[in-house]
């Protein structure tokens, strides 16, 4: 078909690709940390006794889960500036991604909480543990351990989805790729190289989560069995 691949033009721009990849990871890192926190609180709020809080958490989850990330990003970015608040694209991207991943985490964590057997909670209550202590020791950690694969998948997905923040001028990996490919018209080469970089990035993330899992869940480390 006369399509000759020439990667040199793309690879010559490795410096920008590296910068883009670094920014992608940075965005993902911030969003995962803050989002996981929001998710844990959201799940507790959703199952807690306060109807108003439970409703609010539910609305948050549904609102975010059922609309595209791109729209959420636009609303935060242009919404804030219409109100006269001007933040850098990076800040807005990080905030929007955090809000987004927080909703997904809330939902996954709730499922984890629901999978904890009543008998476990009764045993802890019988030992006199306070509600918070029961949540922390007997519900939260085993739940996280159980949904850990789903959670980490979601987080890697977030990293890949962060590519849409290129739309509001965050210079992450996809933005760099689009720039390179429209400058050189070497679309195939650019996309193949970028695909490989994303694979490497997600591999790095998975490796990180695996190591984190070993540190967080000693039982799994020693026995190797799912909870």
């Amino acid at each position: 078909m006369g399509l000759e691949l020439d990667f040199s033009v793309v690879l010559d721009r490795w410096q920008s690709l590296l910068d883009g990849a670094a920014l992608t990871l940075e965005l993902a890192f911030i969003a995962v940390i803050c989002g996981a926190l929001i998710g844990a609180l959201g799940a507790i709020g959703r199952r807690g006794g306060n109807v108003l809080i439970a409703r609010l958490c539910g609305a948050y989850v549904e609102g975010i889960r059922n609309t595209p990330l791109l729209v959420q990003i636009f609303l935060v970015y242009f919404g804030l500036s219409s109100l006269g608040l001007k933040f850098s694209a990076f800040t807005v991207a990080a905030v929007a991604l955090t809000i987004n991943v927080g909703a997904y985490t809330t939902e996954i964590m709730r499922a984890g909480f629901d999978s904890i057997h009543k008998g476990q909670i009764e045993a802890a209550e019988g030992l006199g543990l306070s509600k918070a202590q029961v949540y922390w020791h007997v519900v939260l950690w085993p739940a996280i351990e159980r949904v850990y694969p789903a959670l980490t998948s979601q987080f890697v997905l977030l990293m890949l989805a962060s590519s849409v923040t290129s739309q509001i001028s965050a210079e992450e990996l996809t933005a760099v790729a689009n720039y390179i490919q429209s400058e050189t018209y070497r679309s195939f080469e650019t996309y193949i190289v970028v695909a490989l970089i994303y694979v490497v990035l997600s591999f790095i993330m998975r490796l990180g989560f695996w190591l984190l899992g070993l540190a967080l869940f000693p039982r799994r480390r020693r026995l190797g069995t799912p909870l």
Binding site: M1, L3, E62, G63, R65, N66, T67, P68, L69, L70, V71, F74, L75, F78, Y104, E107, I108, R110, A111, D114, S115, I116, H117, K118, G119, R146, V147, P149, A150, S153, Q154, V156, L157, L160, A161, S163, T174, S187, F188, Y191, I192, V194, A195, Y198, V199, V200, L201, S202, F203, R206, T225, P226, L227
Partner: protein, 220 residues
Amino acid sequence: MGGTLNLNHLLFLGHGALWTIGLSVIALIGGGAAGFLIALCRVSPSRLLRILAATYVQLIQGTPLLVIMFLSFFGLAAIGLNISPLLAAGASMTIFVAAYLGEIWRGCIEAVPKPQWEAAEGLALSRSQRMVKVILPQAIRIATPPTVGFMVQIIKNTSLASVVGFVELTRSGQIINNSLFEPFLIYSIIALVYFSLCYPLSRLSRRLERTALQKKPALA
């Protein structure tokens, strides 16, 4: 250029929404079936199958859908297979969804307590019977929330099919916006359409999940 939103624009959006629905259905059916196979391979006794499935999952989960779309549409064309945009988008979505659902479902299958596997084994049920009658019914309940969470993502991810020339909901919105320059209005409408597509799905699944909970105890 310019002008205001009119009925034609809305019809155009509606047309885009139809494509979004169509592509989602293809992705759910194709990706669901393939994902189920992947999940089974991931818990299979055969080491080879497990490794193959794991490699597939790793590779696909590490690549943005946009890139998969691009490479399968133009990549196949480059080696002489000129497939239609619908086929390319459907194939890409299937490839993508299978990797994620496969992995989600594997986790749910493994979450069924080991004694349940043993009890089924002790009754001489074959591997497939154990799966179908004992493990999967229990895994499904655990699987419902993450699966629905992902199904909704599928619907939204179909927007990336615009790269292969598909004019679905997001793309049609973009086209309208780029002549009207009313991003707020247009994207709010798009958000609303997506919400009305996705929300009933979330609700339905929650109901199913609740009835399943009433019928069956939580896992030990």
